[in-house]
């Protein structure tokens, strides 16, 4: 088993850090970061996780769980961690840019729209309730997360909506 990959770790407020990995054999990986080079021991676990032992003896076991939209969750032990590893080679190969100017509020679970509180043109602030969605027998108030203007409301009260359905389109506006 041999492989080599180059990752960029994206850290907010600073330049991405490069992490270079070479799998040397079935149990050894060579890793180069801005801190230097290390040899690490790794093992695939029977449940699909990977265990890595660093030169210090530090042992980490976890897995990368793929998610829709090309995302992946990084789990170490029982924790899901915040980390962004991009792969510049891949990006060259054609992955589209994620993110756009207009925010779309989507249903994260299937449910029924009970009430719509805003309409196009409304200015909303963090915490403003946009609409109420009933799901799993609970009334969930869907709220704005930032200062924004409502561009369009894409649902009506009483409507059943599926996961991912766009409910409201917002456009960012600067906080006053």
């Amino acid at each position: 088993m041999k492989a080599r990959r180059r990752f960029h770790r994206e850290v907010e407020g600073s330049d991405p850090q490069e992490i270079l990995v070479e799998i040397r054999d079935a149990a050894r990986a060579w890793v180069k970061t801005s801190d230097g080079e290390v040899h690490a021991d790794f093992s695939r676990l029977p449940d699909g996780r990977t265990s890595v032992i660093l030169p210090s003896g530090r042992q980490l076991a976890g897995r990368i769980a793929p998610r829709p939209g090309g995302r992946a969750e990084t789990w170490v032990g029982a924790h899901r961690l915040a980390i962004r590893l991009s792969d510049p080679l891949r990006e060259l190969a054609g992955e589209g840019a994620v993110g756009s100017a207009a925010a779309e509020i989507r249903a994260r679970i299937p449910g029924r729209v009970v009430e719509v509180r805003v309409s196009a043109g409304h200015l909303v602030s963090p915490g403003t309730t946009l609409l109420v969605l009933e799901a799993m027998k609970m009334q969930n108030e869907i709220q704005a997360e930032s200062e924004a203007r409502v561009v369009a409301v894409e649902c009506v009260a009483g409507q059943a909506v599926d996961t991912g359905a766009i409910l409201v389109r917002l456009e960012p506006r600067p906080a006053e």
């Binding site: 088993m1 041999k2 492989a3 080599r4 990959r5 990752f7 770790r9 992490i19 990995v21 799998i23 990986a29 890793v31 970061t33 801190d35 290390v38 690490a40 790794f42 695939r44 990977t50 890595v52 660093l54 976890g62 897995r63 990368i64 769980a65 793929p66 998610r67 829709p68 090309g70 995302r71 992946a72 969750e73 990084t74 789990w75 170490v76 032990g77 029982a78 924790h79 899901r80 961690l81 915040a82 980390i83 590893l85 792969d87 891949r90 060259l92 190969a93 054609g94 992955e95 994260r108 679970i109 299937p110 449910g111 009933e134 799901a135 799993m136 027998k137 609970m138 009334q139 969930n140």
Partner: protein, 506 residues
């Protein structure tokens, strides 16, 4: 003998375990959403009720009674939620010649409407929170109460429980809107939109007393539980005993709880809930005439099996302990593990449980209703299970809770586990300084976002992704040097929900 559990999830499993201990055969009922659920596949018998919606399955009295006929079940346990506090169901069971494992229909009815139970308690001399004593006709009636008693007030569903149909109201302008929403929610949850109002106590604790009783006249208070860690009036963490209760208050609570149970001739296991003010005064909240979600903390500390006792009592047998035979020991804490996203306002997180790893070892008890691969449906309450830890004292219980939470892995749906991991490290929680409004404030001021990876963890992630990319699990294909098309294959693998699906055929 066969016992049918008219419920699902962890509580059905809990009751089945008690049945096995007693040598009783188990009968599960299920909706189409639950055909492959653990409560079905562990049962000796299983009967389909109907489609996923509860009204057509777990709330359908005729279908449940039909299931007892089909299997010859003579005992029926309602669990909690669904039909557990439905007097008509208890009556229908009796009419069908079944033994209902719970109190009499009259007791359920008397305690089932919060407004009428408050009147009953006042008569019995049990203190109640100031409030209206009947369902409000309109918002104006509630606003009247607010003016008299002073804001904030709390709107509550007469038929309610579990925080549903409950709304805190700060000022008279908000009464109408809150009434409408609470009533709609109550109607949806309980089929009854009746709402009443109570004065909101400042920083009270929720303390409740466990009652165990049989049909031979024995009735015992089996300790209290501390349930003040609540999110929007829904219990999140429960403990036994309560650190806020001294011996004198405890004796008062027991006496009040036994008086409440006495009034309705209570002859099963049940719980009397109180609000405890900072000055030690307490007020009757309601009596839950059923098995409580958080019963395990009492079981661990008091060394009893409440579900077995409940079944024995229903069969006319005496409690297996007398009032002086029980001695509490140590401390127990329960965390309710929900498929909810604590970083997004606790919105429900249905989906497939890709990975489940339960904590084990000393002081750890798991009551869960899922297994790896289970689908968490949007049709029901999103509770996955309960983690119950116990220890010699509260400090050891907390240490073990922290340890168990580090072992507890659920991947695939969002859960409340990250909340508990933060809570268990919180100084106020550790020192027991909290009240029923404490968690809502804590949540407003504490982030639950994922921790940023350390450098070591980043190295782990990079190695793991590289290994996955070349290994047999994640992305098919050879382990040779990457080329552009193979990268595409990896991306494809990442996008698919299952590691081996969707890669382009070569």
């Amino acid at each position: 003998m066969k016992l049918l559990v008219a419920n699902r999830g962890e509580i059905a499993l809990r009751i089945f375990r008690a049945c096995r201990d007693l040598g009783i055969e188990t009968v599960a009922v299920f909706s189409d959403a639950d055909r492959a659920a653990p409560h079905v596949t562990i049962a000796d018998y299983a009967v389909r009720l109907g489609p996923a919606p509860a009204t057509e399955s777990y709330l359908s009295i005729p279908r449940i009674l039909e299931a007892t006929k089909k299997t010859g079940a003579t005992l029926i346990h309602p669990g909690y939620g669904f039909l557990a506090e439905n007097a008509a169901f208890a009556r229908a069971c009796a009419d069908a010649g079944l033994t209902f494992v719970g109190p009499s229909p009259d007791a359920i009815e008397a305690m089932g409407t919060k407004t009428s139970s408050r009147v009953l308690m006042e008569k019995a001399g049990v203190p109640v929170v100031p409030g209206t004593t009947r369902a409000a006709r309109d918002a104006a009636e509630l606003a009247d109460f607010g003016r008299t008693a002073g804001y904030p007030i709390l709107l509550k569903a007469s038929a309610g429980g579990g925080g549903k149909g409950m709304r805190r109201v700060e000022r008279s302008d908000d009464v109408a809107g809150a009434f409408a929403r609470a009533s709609a929610e109550a109607a949806a949850s309980f089929g009854d939109g009746a709402i009443y109002a109570e004065k909101l106590l400042d920083r009270p604790r929720h303390v409740e007393v466990q009652i165990a009783a049989d049909r031979l006249g024995h009735r015992i208070a089996v300790g209290e539980r501390e349930c003040s860690i609540q999110r929007r009036h829904q219990k999140v963490v429960e403990e036994c005993p309560s650190g806020a209760v001294g011996e004198e208050v405890r004796a008062g609570l027991y006496a009040a709880a036994l008086a409440a149970a006495e009034v309705v001739g209570y002859d099963s296991c049940g719980t009397v809930e109180f609000l405890l003010a900072e000055d030690g005064s307490f007020y009757f909240l309601e009596m839950n005439t059923r098995l409580q979600v958080e019963h395990p903390v009492t079981e661990e500390v008091w060394g009893v099996d409440l579900v077995s006792e409940m079944i024995r009592a229903a069969l006319g047998e005496p409690l297996s302990f007398g009032p002086d035979q029980l001695v509490p020991r140590g401390h127990a804490i329960e965390c309710r593990v929900y498929a909810e996203d604590p970083t997004r306002g606790f919105s429900p997180s249905p989906g497939v449980v890709e990975r489940l790893r339960l904590p084990e070892g000393p002081g750890v008890r798991n009551d869960v209703g899922i297994e790896t691969g289970s689908t968490v449906s949007i049709d029901y309450d999103p509770m996955l299970g309960k983690l119950v830890v116990s220890g010699r004292d509260r400090a050891q219980a907390i240490a073990r809770l922290a340890r168990a939470l580090e072992e507890y892995e659920i991947v695939g749906v969002e859960t409340t586990l990250p909340l508990f991991r933060k809570l268990v490290a919180d100084e106020d929680f550790r020192s027991g300084r909290f009240h029923t409004q404490w968690l809502d404030g804590w949540l407003a001021s504490h982030g639950l976002a994922e921790r940023a990876a350390t450098q070591e963890e980043a190295v782990f992630a990079a190695i793991s992704r590289t290994v996955d990319g070349t290994g047999p699990y994640f992305v098919p294909g050879s382990a040779g040097p990457p080329t552009r098309w193979r990268h595409a294959a990896r991306l494809e693998g990442l996008r698919s929900t299952r590691p081996t699906v969707g890669a382009p055929r070569r």
